[in-house]
Symmetry: C2
Subunit: 150 residues, 2 copies
């Protein structure tokens, strides 16, 4: 999937991503990077609204799983179950979110559960940065259900 | 503070709240309730985007602390430090977020720290509902710093 395709998908399917002016920076097997400008995501301190930072992190995490599942030819419904977010420092400008998978056995287990048409759980870590510094750490736990179960 | 005043403040200071079409339903000493419609907050499953649900919950939590501090005549800078969110079920329409404080001693401790011009920490719980059912549980930990320290 090309970054432009994912960006179009996000903007049309999740309109808040368009309101946030989310850009897809890169898609690789191990990481998806999104970015957003400050203006539509600002708060009353002229820094990034915490809800925008968490939403960008979640979109990056979801996009990583979505693009990997598509590349593997798996059709599934992917839903977030739990998230935790640590806000380390304010961000006074453009910010980016890099989502990565944990240990690879997790991905193998996740795929094996999907192949058996069972709910498959996986955690994704996203780091949100501004000006080269980590500002927010996000962990999301997702569950995927094979479309054949729906 | 009137609901219309808080709503105007949120829409002008945090533009994402306007993009989400957030409404302030009620403000009381013990609870703030916000709501938002599905359309600007939808995802590709035609249910509420998890990032929107978490953002509405965070806005409600922040608004509860902000309005209480203003009512107490305290001027401070209020920042989120940590949040955790549980997604229990999808929401296929308008959703609302009710933020409440925990035990009252927490609020007393929080105010006492602020009065001493020290960073004051407090946790706020928000429940997000759709069609009368709890769909999302949010906990946010905030820190407030007296404006005199800035």
């Amino acid at each position: 999937m090309l970054p432009s395709e994912l960006e179009h998908y996000l903007h049309t399917q999740i309109p808040l991503s368009q309101a946030m002016a989310v850009r897809v920076v890169s898609i690789a097997d191990g990481a998806v990077v999104l970015s957003a400008p400050l203006a539509p995501n600002t708060n009353h301190h002229a820094t990034v609204f915490g809800g925008s930072a968490a939403a960008l992190a979640m979109l990056a995490a979801w996009s990583l799983l979505h693009t990997r599942l598509r590349a593997a030819g798996v059709s599934s419904r992917l839903v977030i179950q739990r998230s935790s977010v640590e806000y380390l420092r304010p961000m006074a400008g453009e910010f980016s979110a890099r989502a990565t998978l944990g240990a690879m056995p997790d991905w193998a287990r996740f795929n094996a559960a999907l192949a058996r048409r069972r709910p498959a759980r996986i955690a994704v870590q996203t780091v949100v940065e501004h000006a080269g510094e980590v500002a927010v750490r996000f962990t999301g736990e997702f569950v995927a259900v094979s479309d054949h179960n729906l």
